[in-house]
């Protein structure tokens, strides 16, 4: 048994036999020619043939993965027809008097080098497109058929890399999973695997490809990116179990898609998803969540060396709102403290960051950060149904300051003639005992509460949640925490606000009935838990 790991791009497990595809190095010889006109004519003919092939691939992709993903092949056709690309090939033939294959190969190297040297991962990946069209052109020139893959039974494809056209032309009824040694999550293989719902792991490394042999029994875990060659029985069983769970989830999806989340006795509750970045929207939609109950905005601040600009933030917020269409999206403002090292925020080291200058405290002390984020949020509000919530609230005056900051952001936008929506819901996190205790005072100020159970538990029980030694003292079902939630729910409803739970406790199905009885209006959990939770709700009967 040997273990390797890469990056999982589609969360599902496959167990089966490996089929190893090593690309034969299509070495191209440099041959001196006497008749450049003849070579130019050969290029022209090969281009026509390659374009005809791409039209066929485009049609196949259109059927299998839809127009959005198929468009890459239309772009391939345009690249093939690009003036600079064609000119480069023709110039090399004319000035160096060399064969067409060689001219294409040199041009391919030059253009793919240009993309590889760009400082943007997405654009670097485009060098694969240049190589893909060039290899196709060379194959057409030399009369070789592009190598299609044949297999008699279902296999796991293991390759150094797969070009977009190879991925589409594969006979998918024979493919259990893809594993590539290289590639990135921006590669078309990754994008196509996701839209085809095929387990895939990329970037598994050269060592994996050297270790795996044709016909080896292989486990591919698209959730974690783990790869196991020749697994022992125990490991096999473990993964077959996960596979069963995935299938259960899929079956649930079939049953629950589009159905309301309502108990047997008719009490309705919303089930939303938590996300930490725009790359998780696919999972939210795939699990049929009713909205996004917590969008952590921290990733925008952690990803770069500088604070995200208003435009950068707007792009991310707009994307999530547009993709969720008319479903609610609740974005939490920056929730960061000294426990995270973010150089551009210049946070001083603290002895006790959990009780330190963090979250809303930091934002209120640094209005330039706060107002920039609020402006971006309000600008994005015209693209969907937005809610904004503020973390780590402990007092009435903090909420007053947050609301004033929102007014300031709106006033600025209005003065600049920039559109925003007036229907943005404003809410606060209930994650300190203080906020729960004065929830009767806070509720009239806002549209909603969202209970962050992880912090609420840590602050109520005085237990550091990072400290593994405290495990026996952290009772996540502690009555004190549950009473604080219930108290907040009663106060919210008394003042016309709604209340949700977005911490880990929301996914704990042993508490679902209790939360329903308290009158909780919304539960927000990470995407993989959405369907299981919805199933639990629909089986609950509060009248018995």
């Amino acid at each position: 048994m040997q273990r390797f790991s890469g990056k999982g791009v589609y969360g599902a497990v496959a167990v089966g036999a490996a089929k190893v595809l090593r690309r034969q190095q299509t070495s191209v010889n440099r041959i001196h020619i006497d008749d450049p006109e003849r070579e130019l004519q050969r290029v022209k003919t090969a281009k026509e043939k390659a374009t005809a092939q791409l039209i066929e691939i485009y049609k196949k992709a259109l059927e299998e993965v839809g127009e959005d993903h198929a468009q890459i092949f239309e772009i391939h056709m345009m690249m093939l027809d690009d003036e600079d690309y064609t000119e480069s090939i023709e110039n090399i033939i004319k000035t160096q008097l060399v064969n067409a294959e060689y001219a294409v190969s040199v041009t391919s190297d030059e253009f793919s080098k240009m993309f590889r040297s760009m400082d943007d991962a997405y654009m670097q990946e485009r060098s694969a497109d240049v190589r893909d069209i060039s290899n196709r052109l060379i194959a057409c020139l030399s009369g070789a058929d592009s190598n299609s893959l044949h297999a008699d039974e279902k296999v796991i494809i293991c390759a150094d890399d797969l070009s977009p056209s190879e991925t589409v032309t594969l006979d998918k009824s024979k493919v259990l999973a893809f594993v590539t040694a290289f590639g990135s999550s921006n590669s078309h293989t990754a994008i196509l695997a996701r839209s085809l719902n095929i387990p895939a792991v990329i970037n598994a490394g050269e060592e994996f490809l050297n270790a795996v042999k044709e016909g080896d029994r292989l486990i591919v875990d698209g959730h974690t990116g783990e790869l196991i060659i020749d697994p022992d029985e125990q490991t096999s069983d473990h993964y077959l179990e996960i596979q069963k769970r995935d299938e259960h989830r899929k079956a649930l999806l079939g049953q629950l898609k589009g159905k309301p989340d309502i108990t047997k006795d008719g009490r309705e509750i919303k089930v939303y998803a938590n996300i930490g970045g725009t790359d998780e929207i696919d999972a939210v939609l795939a699990n049929d969540a009713g909205g996004i109950g917590l969008f952590r905005s921290e990733f925008l601040y952690l990803a770069n060396d500088t604070s995200p600009t208003e435009e950068q933030q707007l792009a991310a917020y707009k994307k999530v709102l547009e993709r969720m269409k008319d479903k609610k999206v609740i974005i939490r403002t920056l929730d960061i403290g000294a426990d995270k090292q973010v150089d551009h925020l210049g946070l001083e080291k603290e002895d006790n960051p959990a009780l330190g200058l963090r979250a809303i405290r930091l934002c209120l002390k640094r209005p330039e950060i706060f107002i920039t984020q609020l402006r971006a949020l309000y600008r994005a509000s015209v693209y969907g149904k937005l809610g904004i919530m503020f973390p780590m609230i402990t007092s009435v005056s903090e909420v007053e300051k947050c609301l004033a900051a929102c007014e300031q952001a709106k006033k600025e936008l209005k003065a600049e003639g920039i559109a925003y929506s007036e229907d943005v819901e404003l809410g606060i996190m209930i994650e300190t005992p203080a906020a729960a205790m004065i929830s009767d005072r806070l509720a009239p100020m806002v549209d909603f509460f969202s209970v962050g159970t992880n912090d609420l538990t840590q602050y109520t029980l005085a237990c550091d949640r990072q400290n593994a030694k405290l495990e026996e003292f952290v009772d996540t079902h502690h009555e004190a925490v549950l009473r604080l939630i219930e108290m907040s729910a009663q106060n919210a409803h008394k003042h016309g606000a709604w209340i949700g739970i977005c911490g880990e406790l929301a996914a704990d199905t042993t508490l679902t009935e209790k939360f329903l009885a308290m009158g909780i209006d919304e539960l927000s959990v990470s995407a993989p838990f959405v369907l299981v939770l919805r199933d639990t709700i629909r089986k609950t009967d509060l009248s018995t």
Partner: protein
Amino acid sequence: MKSFSYTIKDELGIHARPAGNLAKLAKSWKGTSITIEKDGKSVDAAKLIMLMGLGVKCGDTVNVTVEGPDEDNAVKEVEGFMQANL
């Protein structure tokens, strides 16, 4: 000659898909030259590979210049395209 500047709002910048559509649009205006300039480097918008090679990202400001017999209509279409897609 007509020109305008535009700040990219799409999260991925001028990536493959909009670049392909922009190049297609630029090509459709035969006899009119449409150039995109970023940081002093300018490319013909009809040339897809160079357009992608410009590496225009979210937040970047580009200058678009349109020159030709039908520049008034062309500039309107290009500006509309960018506002809707980028």
